[in-house]
């Protein structure tokens, strides 16, 4: 018995819509099995994981705080992946955005006023874009694999941040703790409804970024270019679209957004720079991008789902004592299932009973002299 893929004449609209949902259900089923293996009541565990965090207002605010960076980064990554540029170093661009944006409140704490925050956000955008330009330059100038270079730069960014907060940028009044001075109030991203919870402007940036990129990809020539060059670089070249320019566009757009997410996180949720400013948002955003089927509007929903896995991990650890490490297992599984289910969009999967044996033998025999000659 074996699997056989039969190409559909057209993409299946049904599966385009429901494949992420199937993937989610499969993840929940496997998750229940994992919890059962860990000796927990699977239904109780799933409840604490995926429902409990949604029951209270403050907790919904936390959800928005976690979803914001995921959505902002993933929206940028979707443009990268649609145009077939594999930027997997968003984590590094996130960190660089955080560092660049923090320059003002850390180095010039006396510079205050309403201008500070917009400048910080701008610097964050620039920092992320500049850092993402490195793999783009290396790819276009030297033909270097962007997957590996963008990933290596994540480690470099992490070490750079570590050096800054332990060395030159350490808080002079901070008892030698490895962190910068706390940002002054003008440099902190304002909260939306301070009475109810901590959610800040970050989630607004996320929604706006998603809508703008959605318009860009689906309604403009540039967006058409992105999709053509991604689906068929050859066709793109015939149409006169520049591959080199597209590499820079995709990388710097996604880098800028990752940088914006970085400075929003630092200035909003944290309020200072620390050796670690991200629980892996840059990598989880890759999952968000695929779960949202590389569609910015889908990514908004996907961002909340992934944010829920982070929150659920914390909630489940407190309430039933399951390790919060489970969250990352869920995230990894989810991407697996999403990719698997996406096959259903382009192919029908058939189970074939036995291989036509005689047939195969004849072909193999006919092939023999040819392989010997090779």
């Amino acid at each position: 018995m074996r699997l056989e893929l039969v190409k559909r004449p057209q993409q299946s609209t049904l599966f385009s819509a429901i494949s992420p949902l199937i993937a989610l259900c499969l993840t929940l089923v496997v998750g229940a099995i994992v919890f059962a293996l860990l000796g927990e009541n699977p239904f109780e565990a799933l409840y604490y994981y995926f429902v409990d965090p949604l029951r209270e207002l403050w907790s919904l605010h936390e959800l928005a705080i976690k979803a914001a960076p995921l959505i902002i980064i993933a929206v940028g990554l979707s443009v990268c992946y649609l145009s077939n540029n594999w930027n997997i170093g968003a984590e590094g661009q996130f960190i660089m955005g955080g560092i660049f944006g923090s320059m003002l409140p850390v180095l010039f704490p006396t510079f205050q006023g309403p201008l500070v925050l917009p400048l910080m956000l701008l610097m964050g955008l620039i920092g992320g874009a500049a850092y993402a330009a490195i793999p783009a330059i290396l790819k276009t100038r030297f033909n270097t694999n962007e997957i590996l270079t963008s990933l290596m730069l994540v480690y470099v960014a992490q070490f750079f941040l570590d050096w800054l907060v332990r060395g030159p940028w350490r808080n002079p009044e901070g008892n030698n703790f490895p962190e910068t001075r706390r940002f002054h109030p003008d440099a902190v991203l304002p909260e939306l409804f301070p009475a109810d919870g901590r959610a800040n402007l970050g989630i607004v940036f996320a929604i706006v970024a998603a809508i703008v990129v959605w318009l860009l990809v689906s309604r403009t020539l540039k967006g058409f270019e992105v999709r053509v060059l991604g689906a068929s670089p050859r066709a793109g070249r015939f149409a006169g679209f520049g591959t080199t320019k597209m590499v820079f566009f995709a990388f710097m757009l996604s880098g800028a957004l990752a940088g914006l997410a970085g400075i929003s996180e630092v200035s909003g949720a944290i309020g200072q720079l620390r050796p670690t400013i991200s629980p892996g948002y840059g990598f989880a955003a890759i999952i968000v991008a695929f779960l949202g089927r590389l569609n910015p509007l889908g990514i908004i929903a996907a961002g909340f789902v992934l944010a829920l896995t982070y929150l659920g991990g914390e909630a489940a650890q407190i309430s039933i004592g399951v390790s919060d490490k489970v969250a990352r297992v869920f995230q990894g599984m989810l991407l697996f299932f999403v990719l698997g289910c996406d096959t259903l969009i382009h192919y029908r999967i058939r189970l074939v009973r036995a291989a036509p044996k005689a047939d195969a033998a004849v072909v193999a025999k006919a092939a023999e002299p040819a392989t010997e000659g090779a």
């Binding site: 699997l3 590996l148 480690y155 070490f159 060395g167 698997g340 092939a367 392989t371």
Partner: protein, 306 residues
């Protein structure tokens, strides 16, 4: 034991995991599959190897479990990319993400517990030879295995018929399929071998290099191994050279940190990653050379037309 000798020994220990993981990935890529999950399979090998050794007290069982874990963990990747033709880049990435998560969950209660180190070889007479004794006859068994692997893979790829067929599958899967070669079968074999190698490399980390379990202890070595394959233009002997070069960089920066030259330790720690980028740039500058060497079907999904 002299200073130079001990430095050479540590370089070999640092290079071995890179070498083993890269050799495995080289076979995978020669069959036309790009598995970006090396880091994930490696970290699974590390945690399973460590846990098995800690529970049974036998580092040998640990090594075996590491290999098995790596191979088993490559199966979901093989199924998705080979049977249902998913995107190899994304699927490999998800293997890495899942591996990092799963390993930190499995190893959580083993953080800080004492490790078991795989004993070094000791041959009376030979190991005690001056200068070369420890280097040639006194290292851990995985070191010897890594050298054997290089020789065996070179021989397999370039001197056997099966190796030739594997390369043909990687260079043109459509033609190979038309000739009746079971493309997917070959690729399954290659991916499993790559997984086993990555698992062994991980077990070397947690049973020889630093005999303990630390979360994310592979620290990007799986990715460096991937870069090594490109650097070596898909040739086993060059992987050997590259791995030792990186081993030397790693150990060199550690010694520089110990000397305290006033260079920030973070800059020194990031040297292996920066070196990877530099090396990749140097090797891929020559577009023609890269194109000739790269397996032509690398990374492309294969769906038999019937």
């Amino acid at each position: 034991m002299g200073m130079a000798e001990s430095i050479l020994l540590t370089i070999a220990t640092a290079a071995t995991p890179l070498l083993i993981a890269a050799i495995g990935e080289l076979v995978v890529e020669r069959s036309g599959v790009l598995n970006l999950g090396v880091e994930g399979m490696m970290v699974m090998g590390a945690v399973c190897g460590f846990v098995a050794a800690a529970l049974t007290g036998s580092p040998w069982l640990g090594v075996l479990c590491g290999i098995l874990a790596g191979a088993l963990f490559s199966l979901p990747f093989a199924f998705l990319t080979l049977n249902i033709a998913t995107n190899q880049v994304a699927t490999g990435l998800s293997l890495t993400l899942l591996g990092l998560g799963l390993s930190s969950m499995i190893g959580e209660s083993f953080v800080g517990s004492p490790g078991v180190r795989l004993p070094n070889l000791f041959i009376p007479g030979l190991t005690e030879l001056p200068l070369v004794g420890r280097l040639l006859f006194g290292q851990d068994p995985i070191f010897y295995l890594s050298i054997l692997l290089v020789i065996a893979v070179t021989w397999f790829l370039f001197k056997t018929r099966t190796g030739l067929t594997l390369r043909s599958v990687g260079d043109n899967h459509a033609s190979a399929h038309a000739l009746g070669i079971p493309v997917i079968g070959y690729r399954y074999g290659a991916v499993l071998f790559g997984g086993a190698c990555a698992g062994l490399a991980g077990a070397q980390l947690s049973l020889v290099y630093t005999p303990q379990w630390v979360e994310n202890m592979t620290a990007g070595r799986g990715w460096i191994a991937l870069a090594l394959v490109v650097f070596a233009s898909w040739r086993p002997l060059r992987v050997l050279a590259g791995a030792y070069l990186f081993g030397a960089v790693t150990i060199g920066q550690l010694h520089a940190q110990a000397l305290g030259l006033g260079i920030p330790s973070q800059l020194l720690s990031s040297l292996p990653y920066l070196a990877t980028i530099v090396v990749l740039v140097l090797i891929s500058r020559n577009r023609r050379l890269t194109m000739i060497n790269t397996p032509a079907s690398l990374g492309r999904a294969f769906v038999p037309d019937r």
